[in-house]
Symmetry: C3
Subunit: 453 residues, 3 copies
């Protein structure tokens, strides 16, 4: 198995000019947290998105710029720059750039007659930025195709109702994203052992590891329900998958806390995980926030820090305490007695597996999918690959993805419920209000893929 | 000098399908220590042998399995698995495998009609395992050619008579193995300086750095004697070399402790060193064991730990305290006053050199042999290379190595003696009993190589 | 941009046989500090120069050898060797080499009849060495072309008048050297902010970031003056650039301490920085030495240590406290209030930028010059590239560089002065004595390049 033989390379390669890289560049993407740029003229942050090295800064007016990481003069890093008077100034020779990447000062020459033109030529790459929901969003595609922000409901909520986070995930984005739409693994990877029959714990609900899955494609991606048998009823979990890499996953039954994750490729081998939790009717309580900070679900317990790539570039990010260097702090005694994995925290459990999968030789971090043995419960993963491949190929041939113009449909939720209803569509109909789900159009040809399993 | 030009690549490359890799796969190999899997259902151990990533576990019945390191379903690492109820269960989706690699459970689907066949297809690579002499042995070759365990005498002794160990050696296996059959280096690398003439120390015996070497090929490999002049007598050291990478080396004169080492390739760049010491007539004493633990000879002083390869895979092994990262703790004052190297411990001394040799560009850990200047005292090394090359090539053409079926001949010892006898064959005849050496067959054509030097 | 497309590869590649590597090999180069080999028979030092792995040692007679890092016998590292009785003895089998690389002992064989010839064949690469000015110098070119030591005035001063130092610089040599002949950056990178108008600080003098530059090529390289406007006068800074990589840079106005740096390539990706400070009329005072040790200018604050290359080789060098692994200890508060960079120390400021520049893909440490936007103030850099390219190409065609035979002209200084003189040549004439500058020959055709900017 080499890189060239990998049929999924079209999905895992995200650099400029790649089909999947271009598809990602049609969407607004989370770039970093607003709180990482806490005030005007604060220190800049180094990021890398879709293989592009960038620096983010908040100028004197509070506006955020995401621009090329290097000064065009001698290619010095702008990270060390002075963030002052509405621009980031390279400390090597003082060239200065505003949030739009426009060169506004070249102080190491006597201004020549053509100074305006010279500064114009010295402008650097910059991307459109929006700030909303605690997230700094970036759009890296053609300006003329720039869509609206995706309409997830948490984006517009009061800041006390939302808690976003990000962290370094050391694998290709796809195997991380695939974990989100893989309902059967929660009965194993995230489960407890020796859960008493009297426990109301949702772990008990998820003990049926072979759920029946029904999936419906939508304009924004797909929605699926997994139906587990539970004491004469059904334990339904509905997951929303929103292109190109969002999920809205249910927590417990009728949990007032809603949640999801997104996976933004840093490059082909590393990813920024984003997590969001929110409540719609009240602020998050101290206890809610403590639970988020505990690392029990996501985000993982992390420290602000830097990550240095083998090729020398450095990014500022959040480094999880449990990581591949310490075997994710697996506790074998805990594994023997109460935790299926012995690893603390939902995100850690996911990362432990996804960052350690068998890699394509020479491509550590990209799982070798050539010898997988997919089964029925992997249907959402299969569909997601098919959808993404189709969209990437369509885009390469000039056809823009419909999801981009469906931003208003992103306001969907993942839910979990006990119900006597056996049929997915009936279940969805009954709970349409609590899900804000979008009805698939009746005549949609893609429905042919979607027979109930 | 590039990889392609290296005439010894046939010996240093050990992956699946390589000539030397195939030769290694004809022999039982030490894989790990029994004590690393101390009880039923204990945590699994990650190993890598001959470029294959494997996981070893002891099941509920005490049986050991050595199987593929990855689950066939989604290629998740089995290391994090649950070792329970006679099998290792992947924590991602609960697939379970027994010590024979047979898939015994696929709990994330409703069992289909063809469940048995499906599980059959999901079985994973597993290798034959035996446990003996404190070692977990693995056989990675064709089942139909599986030989008996090599008949080293320590393998069958009471556990109180044997102490085995292993450690990480960071070079290709061949340069490690070549150190074992290089008698002249002990007069330098392992020697002391300022050894008084009255000292009975064997270091004094080994002061003649230009021993006369006589070598006899055997079915199991070869035996050679090195003869040093010492006060009107001869100081004889006889070393046994057993295919493909075993040695039995003498310690002091008439030492009741017998010893040897073996070198099992992890991949082309790293090796697991195995050491064994034993006594035939009594248990090892507390003092014997303290000396072993001291690191003075081998094993080196090491800590249980993990080693992470650049390509991301992690193995569980023993990491020597003195290593290439700390210049093997060389003490230059000690070197000036009493130790030839200033490095503590025989194994550390060997590793300091072997792990730091001039490497082939792009192949750190494989010494560049293209500009060596071999001399007479390197005869055993030259013969070993010739024998191994011949066997690897013969096997590539379908001719199985004779040593494999000569397991009963492995019960030989290295010995050291002061003797008036000048002739090697006479010496061997006189001490046949204490050596259990195998007589070379008189008419063996290979004897033509073996004139006394 | 790939390596092959890089038009500056001719300057950045320095291995044996490369055009620039050959040019470097025509000059005496600083190899290490005399104090690193403090006494006879002290431990050897591992160095790497121009991609060649070498070991330096001081023999029993105090003579220094710089020889191949590996023993020719089995390619073991000589670093672990015994430095004793006028030679370095490999600890593997005792082969011994003198400072000229001659093999003087092969003790692991009985001396054969042709022993002298055999030892002759076993001799190893060695380079000519001189010790002067606190520096161990090495000449790695053809013996018959060996020039005199360059005649920098500090080389011949009393040891109490000179302080040399070296440190690891983690980029290609050229971008380091380019920082030395880049006068405008001192108004930014090395400047302070909020410097009061009453301050006599030279930072205030350098506030004109767009100096006028006049450059004159010389046999030894070039000299240029940068003229800044300052309160009705001119603040002149004159920098000497001496082939292939020396600079004499001024400190403050009429500073009795003179200084400069040199950049010796370790390989294409790493460099040894050398710094020298000296006084001509008195010893360096305790305060002078404290200032040097403080890291405020150069050398950086460093620790003796080892650096391990990815390919396994280890060198002994000085590792700066502030480095790319800790973002050069940037202090953002300091940056906001008083320091342009927030980074302490002139050398750290230079390294922060030069080690972090945008690299050619796959060549971390070599800046990608393909998209630079050079401006007038970069003239000395442009000329230096042109001169070096011409010399490297000329040498490749058999024409030896004139600078090599101009060692007597290296006794020049960089100076800084306030002056009413506007014309560079007049200024140079007026201050010829304090600069010991060399007059360019009137009819030198190269002067055509050198119009005042």
């Amino acid at each position: 198995m080499t890189d060239r033989d990998d049929p999924y390379r079209i999905l895992t390669a995200v650099g400029p000019g790649t089909p999947m890289g271009n598809l990602f560049r049609r969407f607004w993407l989370p770039a970093l947290l607003s709180e990482e740029l806490p005030k005007a003229d604060c220190p800049p942050i180094r990021i890398r998105i879709l293989c592009e090295d960038l620096v983010a800064f908040r100028d004197s007016n509070g506006r955020i710029g995401i621009v090329d990481a290097y000064c065009p003069h001698r290619r010095a890093p702008l990270f060390f720059g002075r963030n002052e008077q509405c621009g980031l100034r390279c400390v090597y020779h003082g060239w200065k750039f505003d949030v739009n990447g426009e060169c506004v000062d070249i102080p190491n020459i006597v201004p020549p007659d053509n100074f305006a033109a010279l500064k114009q030529k010295a402008s650097i790459k910059s991307y459109s930025v929006q700030e909303s929901g605690g997230i700094v969003w970036v759009y890296m595609g053609p300006k003329e195709l720039m869509p609206e922000l995706p309409g997830m409901e948490w984006v517009e909520l009061h800041e006390k109702q939302v808690k976003c986070s990000r962290w370094l995930h050391r694998s290709n984005w796809l195997q991380a994203a695939e974990g989100e739409i893989d309902t059967s693994h929660i009965s194993f990877l995230h489960s407890k052992v020796n859960v008493g029959k009297d426990s109301p714990d949702w772990q008990r609900l998820a003990q049926d590891g072979a759920p029946q899955i029904t999936l419906r494609e939508t304009d924004y991606g797909f929605v699926y329900g997994s139906r587990r048998n539970f004491e004469g009823q059904y334990f339904w979990r509905v997951t929303q998958w929103m292109l190109p890499m969002w999920s809205a996953v249910p927590r417990s039954i009728d949990d007032p806390i809603l949640a999801g994750r997104a996976w933004v490729p840093i490059d082909d081998y590393t990813t920024t995980g984003f997590g969001y939790v929110y409540t719609t009717e009240r602020p998050l309580s101290t206890r809610d926030l403590e639970e988020v900070a505990s690392g029990e679900r996501f985000p993982p317990r992390s420290q602000k820090g830097t990550f240095r790539f083998a090729h020398g570039y450095v990014i500022d990010t959040y480094l999880p305490d449990a990581n591949i260097g310490n075997d994710f702090l697996i506790d074998r005694d805990l594994q023997a007695t109460s935790s299926f994995t012995g690893i603390f925290g939902v995100n850690e459990q996911d990362r432990a597996l996804q960052e350690s999968m068998l890699s394509i030789p020479g491509h550590a971090g990209i799982v070798d999918r050539s010898n997988e043995r997919l089964v029925k419960s992997d249907l959402p993963i299969m569909i997601a690959r098919r959808v993404l491949t189709r969209l990437a190929k369509d885009l390469a041939q000039g056809s823009e993805p419909k999801a981009v113009s469906s931003a208003d449909q992103y306001g969907v939720r993942g839910i979990a419920k006990l119900s006597p209803i056996a049929d997915f569509d009936e279940f969805m109909h009954a709970h349409a209000n609590s899900m804000r789900a979008v009805e698939p159009s009746a005549g949609d040809e893609r429905s042919s893929n979607l027979a109930s399993l």
